[in-house]
Symmetry: C2
Subunit: 205 residues, 2 copies
Amino acid sequence: MPKPTFYNLPEEKRNLIFRHALEEFARFPYERASLSAIVNRADIAKGSMYQYFTGKKDLYVYLIQEVYARKREFLQPVWEQKEKVDFFELASLYYKRSWHFARQYPLHHRVTVNFWDSKDAALREEILRKKEIRISEFSEMLELGLLSGVVSPDINKEAVWFVYHAVAKALVDNFLDPNINAESHEAYINSVLTVLERGLRPRKE
Amino acid sequence: MPKPTFYNLPEEKRNLIFRHALEEFARFPYERASLSAIVNRADIAKGSMYQYFTGKKDLYVYLIQEVYARKREFLQPVWEQKEKVDFFELASLYYKRSWHFARQYPLHHRVTVNFWDSKDAALREEILRKKEIRISEFSEMLELGLLSGVVSPDINKEAVWFVYHAVAKALVDNFLDPNINAESHEAYINSVLTVLERGLRPRKE
DNA sequence: CAACAATGTGACCGGGTGGTCACATGGGAG
DNA sequence: CTCCCATGTGACCACCCGGTCACATTGTTG
């Protein structure tokens, strides 16, 4: 919730602020990111920033909101396949497309990773609780998998969640790695998801 | 490498410093932890601290070293089973005992988690490169599993590593959760490891 | 007791932060 | 041309940080 003043700004200036906030919060997690650095680099007076936002947190919430809006938009095509493919294929599509998002909008991606890594869980909770942001459809996806029986229902459901989330998060974090081979990365994502699907122990089937 | 002065201190005072450093670095990751807070709470002059350690980093490295020494000691009994049980059972023993460590020494545990979560990868690298600390035997464990054929060798080995690490890290992070049911937690760890072992997709075997 | 080295001390430094405020600027409306 | 209100500004505030240093205190040794 930026102040009304912010929306009165010409689009160009709003973008200027957004861009520099994005850069700063991509470089550092919330606590270490510097508002002073943002205003300096954007060549804006500190005071002006406080005409647009009530403070650092307000700016951050706005940024997170925008970033996730963009990501949702980007992942839209994947959700349209929801009824057509099974859980594992959907997951594959989801992470491959997420990876493309990370490549295309690396700063956006870093912001999301920093958001989840933030040790200030209270802040994250506060942002999520406002429901202004719907972060992810993980839940929905896995729920579908369980319902359809593609995901084994006879083991501790909570544990299934746990493992799925752990792998998913690590996968997304991993997108940051700069020296990933572009051509093979989709294949790599598939390999990881296969391990998740089939388990470490060899199957006799 | 604390200065010699530190080791000349009476044990009681060394412990005092250790305890308060432990508390601070358990509460916050390296960058946000405050040396001033430590000396204030320990009721020691700032200058004194600089008689014992060359600076904040020096104190931190010392602390990490001590914490991991304690943890290794605690996990010793598990490694003695190395030849007797298979990979999955060893992993189960390892994480259950790690959980007990986390319960018994919650501050130590938080310090280790903060250590790995630190965004200052350079610092972590520096500490690890000194080899003064050997953090974990994950590698060794998984290698054994692969060799013995208990862990499937016919899927991308790198991906196996990836999934294993992701789940292991999440499992350890999870120990922090305050409202875990003590009685059922060992069972929960087993459930998670079972999912890791058998995969999400149901087996026909 | 004197001498001397080791250790303890906290005011102080430079530099950073998020946030404030009295004032300058600018662009319609009358 | 003037008035007025929205907006722009940057010096400034209080507070924190890690680190330093001149000096006080202590303890052992001759």
